[in-house]
């Protein structure tokens, strides 16, 4: 059996991976479909039909402006996913090279500066970074991306450095050094490919944390601004009407919960798939 087939078989036999993947794909799919079609235009207000409970015409009901909640959730998925994905890209794009550099020059001044810088960023929870940025530039989805992205940098830098440090002691790295390869080439050709699996798993986790952070930021008004629909914003709008129209709060919250749950399960599943030793040890 080829390695690919074995991997696929392992993947299909991994319950959390399959459930997580399906859940995540549902929401990514909803976001993609929303570009082409939504049940009802999210800009269209229909005051006479506001706060309608779920019905045939509106599967998940309507909000306080009579907008279709299912459509809002589909379009809101775009915001959540875009913010979280770009934040992961920022975190990886800056954190991974920093971690590789710190590991390649272990114990040097560069290593020390990078790691202390990491500690410093760690002292600023993403919410505080967002507050700082918003106080200066005003609230927007872009500022939410930057805040969550900055928060992601030390996560990836630490992970990469830790994994790379142990790789640098391996024989094949020694062989590469003997062959005259420099630190940058060794990092790119031998270290990076061997930390990719770890990065994918952590990327999934940071993706799900990003969705939660985006929801929290837009809930307090520091994220995407109206009229752009976002899940956090929908929850903020529903708050004062929760006793009259609980469905307005329940469905966007379920969307966040299920997306995050799906991504977390997928992360767990991927970790087991990439490193069967952990799975055996955990059972």
């Amino acid at each position: 059996m080829s390695a690919g087939v074995m991997m696929l078989r392992g993947a299909l036999g991994n319950r959390s991976l399959v459930i997580g993947l399906v859940l995540s794909l549902v929401f990514v799919g909803a976001a993609l479909v929303s570009f082409a079609w939504v049940p009802q235009d999210v800009g269209a207000m229909d005051i006479p039909n506001r706060m309608q409970p779920p019905s045939g015409a509106h599967l998940l009901g309507t909000d306080h402006f009579g907008r279709d909640i299912l459509s809002m959730i589909m379009v809101g998925a775009r915001t959540s996913i875009a913010v979280a994905v770009v934040a992961v890209v920022i975190g990886m794009g800056l954190g991974v090279p920093l971690g590789l550099a710190a590991a390649a020059r272990r114990g040097s001044l560069i290593d020390e500066v990078i790691m202390r810088g990491n500690d410093l960023v760690f002292a600023f929870p993403s919410l505080l970074i967002a507050i700082m940025i918003t106080a200066v530039f005003g609230p927007s989805a872009v500022n939410a991306i930057i805040a969550i992205g900055i928060f992601n940098i030390p996560v990836f830098a630490r992970l990469t450095r830790g994994a790379a440090l142990s790789l640098w002691t391996r024989d094949y790295v020694l062989a590469a050094r003997v062959a005259g390869k420099g630190a940058v080439r060794i990092s790119a050709e031998h270290i990076l490919p061997n930390v990719t699996n770890l990065l994918i798993v952590q990327g999934t986790i940071q993706f799900s944390l990003g969705i939660l952070a985006e929801a929290a930021l837009s809930y307090v008004g520091l994220g995407a601004q109206p009229p752009i629909p976002s899940w956090g914003r929908m929850l903020a709008d529903s708050q004062t009407m929760i006793s009259l129209a609980p469905h307005m709060a329940i469905f966007p919250g379920m969307a966040i919960l299920l997306t995050v749950l799906g991504l977390n399960l997928m992360g767990d599943g991927l970790r087991d798939l990439f490193d069967p030793r952990i799975r055996r040890a955990r059972q």
């Binding site: 002292a123 700082m132 929290a216 929760i242 709060a249 966007p252 919250g253 749950l261 399960l265």
Partner: protein, 315 residues
């Protein structure tokens, strides 16, 4: 041990200095003239000049930074532009909601996670273990402010056990104050308790597979005796670190949860200050929160080294 503490103390001071510099530069220098920003587009030149003077903006940047830091060290956080009251008083007042809320949530999270983690680890692979792990999976994925809203719907609006928001005030008595903080603390504690349960469980499982546990079992101790006498103590180290880290997340998270329950804490203060462009307040609250995070992490590191001498040499 003393050397280690001194070394950590030096890095604590450096971290605080750099963090304060970052906050200062971000808030005061990057956007141009804070006075113009605070007053908006239609500001009169003389009002602007007066405000600049009041804010001490006429000095050089290093001088302004030093006077800000000097003021903070002596308890003078400046005067709020919108409220015209000392920022230190405003923060002091609201601290009495945010800090008890974070501590309440931390206690809840520890009280839930401890038994749940031990229970799951001691019945590894059983239905109990699966159930606990399933619940924590949900607890990590649920947005806590949404969970808070659902609790308001059920326990405040439908069952009327708690009020839907607001703070009774400590002058109404300790219990009344704690009652207003109960739903917020549960919401805040839920994700942290889930994380802590998982850490507790896996740390205990790791310890239980160590050689000294096998030795203890071989010398005739029962599973229960081994668990309580040997395994738990050794499993505590990672758990303590996470508890320390969680405190900072709880303080920051409290800012969001306060919004759900209309609690007049630091969170409400900072969001009102942002919309009122009251940058002095934003700056001070940020510095205070970052200060708390850095100091708590320092305390955890030191406590950690006191428990485990091996850690003193590292780093």
């Amino acid at each position: 041990m003393l050397r280690y503490v001194l070394k950590r103390l030096v890095s604590l001071v450096i971290s605080l200095a750099v963090a304060s510099l970052v906050i200062f530069l971000a808030i005061e220098v990057v956007p141009g003239d804070p006075a113009a920003y605070m007053l908006g587009l239609n500001a009169q030149p003389d009002t602007l000049a007066a405000l600049r003077d009041q804010l001490g903006l006429n000095g050089t940047i290093p001088a302004r930074y030093l006077s800000w830091i000097g003021g903070m060290l002596t308890g003078d956080f400046g005067t709020s532009y919108t409220y015209r009251t000392p920022v230190a008083d405003m923060i002091g007042e609201r601290m009495w909601i945010s800090l008890p809320l974070a501590l309440y949530a931390l206690s809840l999270s520890t009280l839930i996670a401890f038994p749940a983690g031990v229970w799951a680890a001691s019945r590894r692979g059983s239905a109990v273990d699966m159930g606990v792990m399933g619940v924590t999976q949900l607890g990590v994925a649920i947005p806590n402010f949404w969970f808070a809203m659902l609790m308001v719907l059920v326990f405040a609006i439908n069952l009327r056990w708690f009020s839907a928001g607001g703070f009774a005030g400590w002058e109404q008595g300790f219990l009344a104050g704690m009652k207003s903080l109960t739903l917020p603390a549960i919401a805040l504690a839920l994700p942290q308790a889930s994380i802590l349960t998982r850490v507790m469980r896996s740390s205990l499982l790791d310890t239980l597979s160590e050689d000294f546990i096998r030795t203890a079992r071989a010398k005739g101790l029962t599973r229960r005796q081994v668990l309580w006498r040997h395994a738990l103590r050794n499993a505590m180290i990672p758990v303590l670190t996470i508890i320390g880290m969680q405190f900072s997340f709880l303080l920051a998270g409290a800012i969001i949860i306060e919004n759900v329950f209309f609690l007049p804490g630091l969170g409400r203060l900072v969001f009102q200050a942002i919309s009122a462009r009251d940058l002095i307040v934003v700056e001070s609250v940020l510095m205070l929160l970052v200060f708390a995070v850095i100091v708590v992490n320092f305390a955890v590191d030191v406590a950690y080294a006191a428990v485990d001498p091996r850690l003193r040499g590292r780093r």
